[in-house]
Symmetry: C2
Amino acid sequence: MGNKAELEFISWLRTQATPKNWVPVGPGDDTAVVNWPNDKPCLVTSDMLLEGSCFILAEAGAERIGRKAMNVNLSDIAAMAGIPRAALVSLALPRNGGKQLAQQLFNGLKQAADIFDTAIVGGDTNSWNGPLAISITLLGYPGPKGPILRSTAKPGDAILVTGQLGGSILGKHLDFIPRIAEAQLLSQLANLNSMIDLSDGLALDLHRLCAESKCGATLFADQIPIADSAFQMKDDKTPLQHALGDGEDFELLFSLPAFEAQHLLKDQPLKGIRVTQIGEITKDGFLMEEKGRKIPLEALGYIHQFD
Amino acid sequence: MGNKAELEFISWLRTQATPKNWVPVGPGDDTAVVNWPNDKPCLVTSDMLLEGSCFILAEAGAERIGRKAMNVNLSDIAAMAGIPRAALVSLALPRNGGKQLAQQLFNGLKQAADIFDTAIVGGDTNSWNGPLAISITLLGYPGPKGPILRSTAKPGDAILVTGQLGGSILGKHLDFIPRIAEAQLLSQLANLNSMIDLSDGLALDLHRLCAESKCGATLFADQIPIADSAFQMKDDKTPLQHALGDGEDFELLFSLPAFEAQHLLKDQPLKGIRVTQIGEITKDGFLMEEKGRKIPLEALGYIHQFD
């Protein structure tokens, strides 16, 4: 931080902040001070969104990008069955019109944060001759059963997913609701062994979960819940391929003992969001069962290039 | 995160991480899990460094930029008299040579983090067609006396500073040591009422501290410790003007009751780093006493432009 426009932006930010009793010091000091619940570890995640690579500002609008940037991080806290608490926002702004852009972004960030009672406690605002970059760090803490990891799936677990998958690019990738409340409820109602949020595609994210858990998986092709938007995609992929490989569904993928899964599947405890069994955790191998035969499952998904 | 090079980078990162017993889950899950000391709040700060605006990569080298990016954040924790614990690193990398650059940056980040027993627990790595951007978030907790704020200076306090000021651009701005240990010791030996780190220039940062504390200040011009490098600057500013207005000294500016200051000034408890009284906190006004007369003190400092 440093100049008049930035100080004005910070002053404006302070008028916008919803006071929270766990934030004795918000923006304006060298660090924020966030009171932490005793005996709870800190869950902490960062995601960066880059103009041109992750979004087209002119298409989406700044407020919507702000909401998405916060929601992407909230989705990571959801994937641990965590409760979000405080966020920091760092912006690299283009030099022209930076202040107005920062305010629009902040409006979107705050809308998303307010829904989940999350305080925006600080960050850093800079300008440069480059495109817009937004980096968010989100702090949270786990629910009563502790964090649900990627690395603790067990062979024999049922693999379940919330909602429908594929074709997110037609709209949901910008306007999804992070599954914070759903993850809380699921982890209270059952003993989840592992969980991940689907950000880069079902097949790739399942592959990651299995790699962390040192296990395999078999998916049941005809049970994968395919979103309407996956059928509306106008390209040469099938709807199933979209459900397997499209990124940014931001649904929860989780595993739990089969008998516990049966209760969830029968009770359908999430309001308006279906949970579906789509496979099972195995000792090894990465397969898909389709029309009675098992074929190798490729780790399809969103590939982010650098070298 | 998403592709093969990124996964390779994460795998490499994991081999580099120094295990810490307070980090049950480091990079590789949806969030990191950091154990938090009971009854301690979380101090949290983010700083972003941008290529071309904050540094010239070709001049400084990636490893040095990595060190600086971590040290800038450590300096903010120091300014609260805090103890750093965990860092997250988000990178926007140019597409060509991103992986090698990421490794060099990480080497520097880790060197700085290791000195202060800080775990690098996660972050986000992306590539784009823009310049390099580094965003660091640092978590820490306060020492036994709690965080030292900007907003609690008291009229009558002595204003002290560590080290020497000005001309940092000749080298110190890249290779400074954040005053973590010094801040700890000072806050143990005396009851500091307020503190800030000097990142944007003495006059501007003092102005900020006074604005937060709703008070004024008078500086004693002939007591300001001027660095040798401020005398070596070849421009039309005086060494005193450099000491007042140059950014990136990364020294501590703090205020405390005058009688407590006398002990610190006499004992000089910091090894190799002098503490100097440079002024006093007043009820209002922002002045400099020079050759027996008081003149208005401009809030000189590093101005970061956007509109």
